[in-house]
Structure formats: C-alpha cells, structure tokens
Subunit: 116 residues, 2 copies
C-alpha cells in the first residue's frame, strides 16, 4: 500500500503481456467499453479525458468501465490536472492478441442508445 497522493505520476496499468485472454474477451464483451475504444481510435494519444466521451451511462459507471479497460491492458491513462487523459494501447495489445483490437475498432457504432 504505497499511499502517494492517490494520483501522481502513474496509475496501476496492466502489462498487456500478462493479460489473459479471459480478461481481454471479458473487457471487450461490453458494448460501452467497445464504444470507448472506438471513440479513442483515430484520436491523438492522450487527447481525450474520460468525461469527453458521450457515453450512455452515468459518471460512476463510466469510471468503472475505464478501470476495466485499463486492467485489461487496453488503455493507458495519464493524469493532467484534474482530468485523466486516455490513450489506446494499440501496439501493445495487438502484440498480445493480434487482430483482436482491429475487430473492435472496425465494428460499426450500432449503439442507438448513445448516438440518438
């Protein structure tokens, strides 16, 4: 239990090499999480904070989803002031599970809830 100031330099990021297929598939099996990944695709690294995603869930739920994605080695987060910037760990995750992320990113939005 290293206390730090709760947020400082880095967060607990799962090494993609240690992520199990179970964890990866579980993380990707949720439509909201895939939506996050898709939104992150094509954007510059660390250009989007958690709050900038138009998600069909509450703030608390979104926070949960970000944590799952981080634990699955799918994204890296960086604290910048009060906000937490995200980066899609494309290369790392693709090295661990080749082609898997590509399938998710290629999927059409298909989520009528959030798009309206």
């Amino acid at each position: 239990m290293v206390a730090r100031s709760r947020r400082s330099l880095g967060l607990q990021h799962a090494e993609p090499a240690r992520v199990t297929l179970q964890d990866a598939l579980h993380a990707l099996a949720d439509p909201v999480r895939r939506q996050i990944l898709r939104a992150l695709d094509g954007e510059p690294d660390f250009s989007r904070a958690c709050g900038t995603f138009d998600l069909p869930v509450s703030k608390a739920t979104a926070s949960h989803h970000f944590a799952v994605l981080r634990a699955a080695g799918l994204l890296e987060q960086l604290d910048q002031g009060p906000r937490r910037l995200n980066r899609l760990r494309r290369a790392e995750f693709d090295a661990r599970f080749p082609g898997l992320l590509a399938l998710v990113l290629a999927e059409p939005a298909g989520d009528p809830v959030s798009d309206g």
Copy 2:
C-alpha cells in the same frame, strides 16, 4: 414452428455473416466454451459428439454452451443417430472475424478444473 421430428436434417444454425461482434465476444468470453472450441480444434469435422468432451460442468450446462456456440456461428452440428456431432466453423467464422478464433485456439488450456 415447423414440427418435423424435432431432429432431422439440420438445426438452426446462425449464419456467421449475421453474427454480431457482441454475440461473438460474449460466446467466447466463457472459459468452458473456449475449452470446447479448443478440443474441437485439430479433430476431423463431425468426429466428436457433445458427450465426448471432458467438461467441468453438467450435461445440461454443456448443452447450453453448445447452443450458445451454435448461435454464435462458431460450430455446426449434425445429428447422427442419438448423438450430435460437432464441427468447428473455422473458415466461416474467420471470414467474419479474422483472427479471433485463432486467438482462442492458440490459448493454453489453463483450466485446472477439468484437466485435473
């Protein structure tokens, strides 16, 4: 509801082209189902009946898992007498979600429950 004799020529098989990524990922997110797919890998088509898999679940649960896999376009089943022979729909599924099945089949067993 065409009655037939409940089993005759074919079963309701999902066209892999119509399977959503959601369904595919959901189907693959279960370790027992992945175990089935892995066991089916490397075996000749339609050489294994449902009962020949050494699964860590009951007959009823296994039947459920086979149904999910069939619905996800991951396997094709063929009735031969009292038993239902299975075939991994490798090519079809790979055409729909390239590389996804390969990841599952490449995964180590890692399920200490069934192997003993």
